[in-house]
Amino acid sequence: MYDLLWLIPALPFAGFVLLATIGSRFPRSLTAAVGVGSVGAAAILAVLTAGRFVVSPPPDDFFRQTLWTWISLNGFTPEIALYLDPISLVMVLNVSIVGFLIHLYSAEFMADDESYCRFFAYMNLFLGSMLTLVLADNLLLLYLGWEGVGLCSYLLIGFWYKEPVRAKAAVKAFLVTRVGDAAMAFGLFLILANLGTLQIQELTERAVLLWPVGSKLAVAAAGLLLIGALGKSAQIPLHTWLPDAMAGPTPVSALIHAATMVTAGVYLIARMHVLFTLAPMVQYAVAVIGCATLLVAGFSALAQSDIKRVLAYSTISQIGYMFLALGVGAWSAALFHMVTHACFKALLFLACGVIILGLHHEQNMFKMGGLRRQIPFTFYTFLIGAASLAALPLVTAGFYSKDEILWASWSSTLGGPWLWLGGLIGALLTSLYTFRMVFLTFYGKAKSRIDRFPGTAMMIPLAVLALLSLGIGLIQTPGVLGNVAFFSGFLSASLPAMTEGNVSARFENILLVISGVVSVSGIYLAYLFFLKKPGLAQALTNNPLGAVLHRCSFAACGFDRAYHWLFVKSFVRIATWNRHDFTDLVYRGVAGFAQVCSIILGASQTGRVRHYAVGIVIGAVVTIAIMVLS
């Protein structure tokens, strides 16, 4: 069974190759069958592998499959090798199952698009790259998948490239993540130069031996990898590409946000956790950045009018939670939140896609309203997703994962009350903006009519994801609610448990209740502001302080404007100033010299034969003089 591991990334790649080469001649049904089928087969294989892994784990809880040697260069021989351990298994399951559901959904969602085949080719390549990334045995192969994911995100965000806005968004996503990628490449060079290998297991062993805790090299390596992760996972200060990435088709947004791409940074940090433990300063930075991001993004989501932008900011915010968990050493809590987030965020995006498709690409929430009765099935699934995102206590998966993170952020020896408080405020903001979105979209007066209703291929993924968003939380519950630790137990083979500070179980229960109350009160506030008394929200934004806050939230705290001013404008200014490229001066100088010489020598060509004779005489005299005198 394990020997078939290579097929998991290979199947989507095969689908991509098939669709990219001869796919244009396929009828639509065959294109969909290849595109969805290849990912579906990979998902089935992943589930079977997971079953085998749980029932009879391989020796030492990992399985390594070397396919071939990539490069052989005295001493440096990165291999195309796959590494399966609990972390990568969780990632593979996450990516392939959620990816498959999104593919299935897209088969119907994109049915009218003229570039149906191109879409599925990119999607398959995306999935294949992501699976390569999570299964990679060495950092070089991981980087290949990492870049593949970046490329596909560019291709898919700019899928409707004929509209300049969308093409620009694609370029922005590519450039911003590139900043992180460059830092990550430097991190890899640093690791290779100092540890002599990129094979993950070997390099962590060597790092522990060679680098003392807090040493400069460990801090530099971890820091550079962190910048890479910040870019890919859209954390402050490299998060600005994600809201613009909404320019892609909705299933693409779902794929980028839920299953692939943004979780890559979280995976990288979890995978390299040893390195981060060696650099406590960087690890603390992870927590602080996560906390700051979840607050800023949560705040930015409050005033958006575009439904997809709200979801985009919520993704940034939720990944902030994962970073917070990683930063305090709660590795498995971060991955757990990633799994639940993948389910409910995919669900929210797909349900949102139904609305957008039904309203002819209308994304402004203020033009929706009252959709509850028109598309009840979508409404209920969206509600489940929203409840899970808002961490509605007891019934939703989001509650269990978020609560674990909040608990960890206080109780961990690396955490503290401040981080917890940040997370708690974030939780309040989350439930507030989530239910603002629900109330604006589905309640109130109907302002527009849905004229296209989802078919089975779109309903099935919604139903499955809704069930997962409710049920998957039960694999890891806090002490007082059953104390199930299946998930963290499963991961314990490859991720160390968090070191808890001196806190009692009773205290844990108090925090649990507080986070539950905060979540519910956020929902109630949203109900109050946006459904019961809409005048209240209006009054708040009319008040000067409220107006400033509203503007600040709508502009996402001005990051985009600041970057535009700082980087884009200054770059353009330098480019304008240097539009006669100064390196050209050298070449222009050479040309000018040749021109002057030509004028001088041209003047000597009088065309008179006697002048030429003088030239010959002078030449002869000089030559003879040299020969005689020397």
Binding site: S604, Q605, G607, V609
Partner: protein
């Protein structure tokens, strides 16, 4: 037979060469320039003969015969050129032919 000193021969050759050269440089009549070239050739021949006599070797006289042959050929080509020149420009002034000015 009283021998002529070698300096005298070389001096005469030098004077003749200079006259020919000056004539070549200052005259504008193409026929005259051709004559000047002939004078320079003969000056060179005289230098060879003088040197040959001084060194008591026949090489100088051999070279003179070569120069005479070459001069005959040169005159043949040169006069043909002069005729063509006159056909084209209706004058013997070389400065009329300055189409190659850079």
């Amino acid at each position: 037979m009283a021998s002529v000193p070698v300096e005298h021969g070389l001096l005469l050759a030098g004077i003749l060469f200079s006259i020919g050269l000056m004539g070549l440089l200052v005259r504008r009549n193409i026929l005259m320039m051709l004559l000047c070239v002939e004078i320079m050739l003969n000056a060179a021949g005289l230098a060879f003969v003088t040197a040959g006599a001084a060194l008591r070797k026949p090489d100088g006289q051999i070279m003179m015969i070569f120069i005479l042959t070459m001069a005959a050929a040169e005159v043949a080509v040169g006069l043909a050129l002069v005729i063509q020149f006159f056909h084209s420009f209706k004058t013997l002034d070389v400065d009329a032919a300055d189409k190659m000015r850079g």
